[in-house]
């Protein structure tokens, strides 16, 4: 996300916003008092001198801190006190609590809320309210004192302070994180997640160069990616870049400066050599930039950004978020990889089972038949019939395997119409194999189904037909295939005796069918009575990827 123009000048630049606001307000004060003949009401010469000094101070401060994050942080507190003092002085010199410039107290309040947090905003607000009450007490009892106006303005100040304190609290919890949906949209699965995470961070921080390093398993070395001039290179670093674990550090190696945040939220100024590995940074060409901690579910490391024209104090917060986001990108990729590996493993196991159940068992059965033929003391006619039967079985199995392989070669999905055609062909072969009439119809065939389902369909049909003939002695089997909302439905009707064996005994359960249906997260229902058995299987279309 690249932002240009005035927006980019102030993006993540709260110091600039405050400095610019201070300059504009100082000029506005001067202009207002100059235009208003009734002002300043008290000590005019001193007021003009104060205002002129304040204008010069505001311009000088803006010029000094515009591109210098370290000075901006260093001068933040002193300039804040000066703002409060000057605004108090101006308000008093322009009629005290009835001053038309009363609401300009908002600048110190806002700058405290933007720069720091709710505690500093509360302290500023308390100081301002006390100053205002002091002014009220000083002028109370004079003829010009208006109690009603004093109360209303006190109320304004308190309400405004409360809102800004809330804003300060809210700031502490606001996150820049773009969320998993955004990640999904922006992540390209084929790219290295470390490079992607780094590219996101550089883009967001408008950094020309960056590196993302993750700690090796032995915990001693760091390896990752470095992007300079738009090109990514692998990178290894022997030592940690930060000398103590901190969420984020801004550094300037040449001037030997670092800025970080203490646990209580106050700025911490230290020489660069104390907090960062200056030699390693110099070697990378990173003279001024930021380092933030990166933590993912399983990995730990750091994000280094440099060549940042807009580096500011705000990056103490932004850097922390960028580190978190980089960790989230790595976690997200690890999660997707785990899902893919799981799906691949399931498919592999399923294919292995299919091959085992069909090809291996068939070939073993064929070998037993050959052995039986060889050993049998059969008449020539019987021998020929056995060999013919074996040949037929071999040819049919060849067809099955060809169908199976062509299904595997296809893309992830195929038209249901195609799957139905292949089922019809399979039904003809099964009909011949079991000497039954077997027909397949489709109630709807304008959908697409995953390859995995096609393989399941074929295997289910084989098993259903075998069951109908073996257990029920069926002579006619009708199969119907269709789509019911998000499920594929396979209905198998036969005219057999059902799942109760003809000679009584324990009812036979379609275990192999049930097992396969369970694995595909489908459902199976069975209605069985002599002369009619109806088997309905539904399989979910989603989650059956090949």
């Amino acid at each position: 996300m690249t932002v240009s123009g005035p927006q980019s000048m102030f993006k993540y630049q709260s110091g600039r916003v405050i400095a610019a606001g201070r300059v504009m307000l100082a000029f506005l004060f001067l202009l207002s008092i100059w235009l208003d003949q009734s002002q300043p009401a008290q000590a005019p010469a001193q007021t003009y001198a104060l205002l002129l000094s304040y204008v010069l101070f505001a311009i000088g401060l803006a010029a000094l801190t515009w591109r210098n994050w370290w000075l901006d942080a260093r001068l933040a507190a002193p300039s804040h006190f000066i703002d409060m003092a000057v605004f108090t002085g101006i308000v008093f010199s322009t009629n005290g609590y009835t001053s038309p410039f009363f609401l300009f107290f908002i600048l110190p309040l806002l700058s405290a809320a933007i720069r720091w947090g709710w505690r500093e905003t509360t302290l500023t607000a308390t100081a301002l309210v006390l100053l205002y009450f002091a002014a009220g007490l000083l002028v109370a009892g004079t003829q010009s004192f208006e109690l009603q106006r004093f109360i209303v303005r006190s109320g304004h100040l308190v309400i405004l302070s409360a809102i800004l304190i809330w804003f300060g609290i809210h700031q502490q919890f606001a996150r820049l994180f773009f969320g998993l949906d955004e990640l999904d949209r922006r992540l390209a699965r084929d790219d290295d997640p470390i490079t992607q995470a780094l590219a996101f961070a550089m883009d967001e921080a408008r950094a020309g160069s960056g590196a993302l390093l993750l700690r090796s398993n032995d915990g001693q070395r760091f390896a990752g990616t470095r992007i300079t001039k738009g090109t990514a290179h692998p990178l290894k670093v022997a030592q940690p870049l930060m000398r103590e674990p901190l969420p984020v550090v801004l550094f300037d190696i040449e001037r030997d400066r670092t800025l970080s945040r203490r646990n209580d939220g106050w700025h911490r100024f230290l020489p660069a050599w104390k907090l960062v590995n200056a030699d390693a940074l110099r070697e990378l060409g990173a003279r001024e930039g930021l380092i933030s901690e990166v933590r993912s579910g399983t990995l730990q490391g750091c994000l280094l950004l440099w060549d940042m024209p807009d580096l500011s104090v705000d990056f103490l917060e932004l850097g922390r978020e960028l580190g978190r986001d980089a960790g989230a990108v790595i976690d997200h990729d690890a999660l997707l990889s785990a899902i893919e590996e799981g799906a691949a493993a399931r498919t592999r196991l399923s294919l292995a089972r299919d091959v085992h159940d069909s090809v291996v068992q068939f070939l073993a059965g064929a070998a037993f038949r050959v052995e039986a033929i060889m050993r049998g003391s059969r008449a020539h006619k019987q021998l020929q019939s056995d060999l013919m039967e074996l040949k037929r079985l071999l040819i049919e199995e060849q067809g099955e395997i060809r169908t199976f392989v062509s299904a595997l070669r296809r893309d992830r999905e195929l038209e249901l119409a195609e799957a139905v055609e292949e089922l019809k062909s399979l039904a003809r072969r099964l009909g011949r194999q079991w000497s039954v009439e077997c027909r397949v119809d489709a109630t709807s065939d304008d959908a697409s189904i995953p390859i995995r389902l096609q393989l399941d369909l074929q295997q289910l049909l084989r098993e259903a037909v075998a069951n109908a003939v073996r257990h029920g002695g069926a002579s006619r089997i009708d199969v119907d295939v269709g789509i019911d909302e998000d499920r594929l439905r396979l209905e198998v009707k036969d005219n057999g005796s059902g799942f109760l064996p003809a000679n009584g005994g324990t009812p036979v359960q379609p275990w192999s069918l049930k097992e396969r249906v369970d694995r595909a997260h489908g459902s199976l229902s069975l209605f069985s009575e002599p002369g009619c058995t109806n088997l309905v299987i539904t399989l979910p279309l989603a989650g059956a990827g090949a």
């Binding site: 590996e341 068992q361 050993r375 056995d386 359960q509 275990w511």
Partner: protein
């Protein structure tokens, strides 16, 4: 005549075995297509010899064998299999069936094996014997797992997510991840799917 019961859920194998036994000294007295059906038929038909497939629905061949081993009048059993994993091989070697033959071996071996079993001997397909030896060596080399690691593997096998495992074990999600990676390294798997697949072998159950 030796009375034989075939327990195999695959119709092609069952039909071929039936054909192989036709006209021989063996009398086929019944066919079962599941583990439960096999137990039922053994009790009802009292065969002399049971040709038992390993992978069957509703109770595997090994489950059937376990049950039969507790009975005094169990038939001699020949395990007939297209393939067993290491856990199955080790279980089978403990149960000591009278015969073990691979379906993919020369069918003549099955008949030889049946002959030996009929005469009171034991017969193991050389390939199965070799695989059992390897499985035993592998099991001896397998790293010892702590009770906590075994517990975690079991929870992974049940398909629980890290968050659920953490809640169940009373630790943080991060600790579960650290544990899991230690287990991955120890048992030589790359991911949790592989760990779940090998859980039976690692836990021996």
């Amino acid at each position: 005549m030796t009375r034989v019961l075939i327990a195999d859920d695959h119709p092609m194998i069952a039909a071929a075995l039936e054909m192989l036994l036709r006209g021989s000294d063996y009398e086929l007295v019944g066919r079962a297509r599941s583990g439960a059906e096999a137990l039922n038929q053994v009790q009802r038909l009292k065969p002399d010899l049971l040709l038992l497939d390993v992978n069957m629905p509703d109770g595997s061949g090994l489950d059937v064998l376990k049950q039969l081993r507790q009975s005094r009048r169990a038939p001699a059993t020949v395990l007939l299999t297209a393939g067993m994993d290491d856990v199955q091989l080790l279980t089978a070697s403990v149960l000591e069936p009278e015969g073990m033959v691979l379906k993919t071996s020369d069918p003549a071996l099955l008949l030889e094996c049946m002959e030996q079993v009929r005469s009171g001997q034991h017969c193991i397909d050389p390939e199965i014997a070799e695989r059992i030896d390897k499985a035993k060596e592998k099991a001896a080399r397998a790293p010892s797992l702590t009770p906590r690691e075994r517990e975690l593997i079991d929870l992974v096998r049940q398909g629980l997510r890290n968050r659920d495992i953490a809640a169940q074990l009373g630790v943080t999600e991060g600790t579960v991840k650290v544990y899991l990676h230690a287990i991955f390294d120890k048992v030589g798997v790359d991911n949790r799917t592989e760990l779940a697949m090998r859980a039976g072998e690692l836990l021996g159950r």
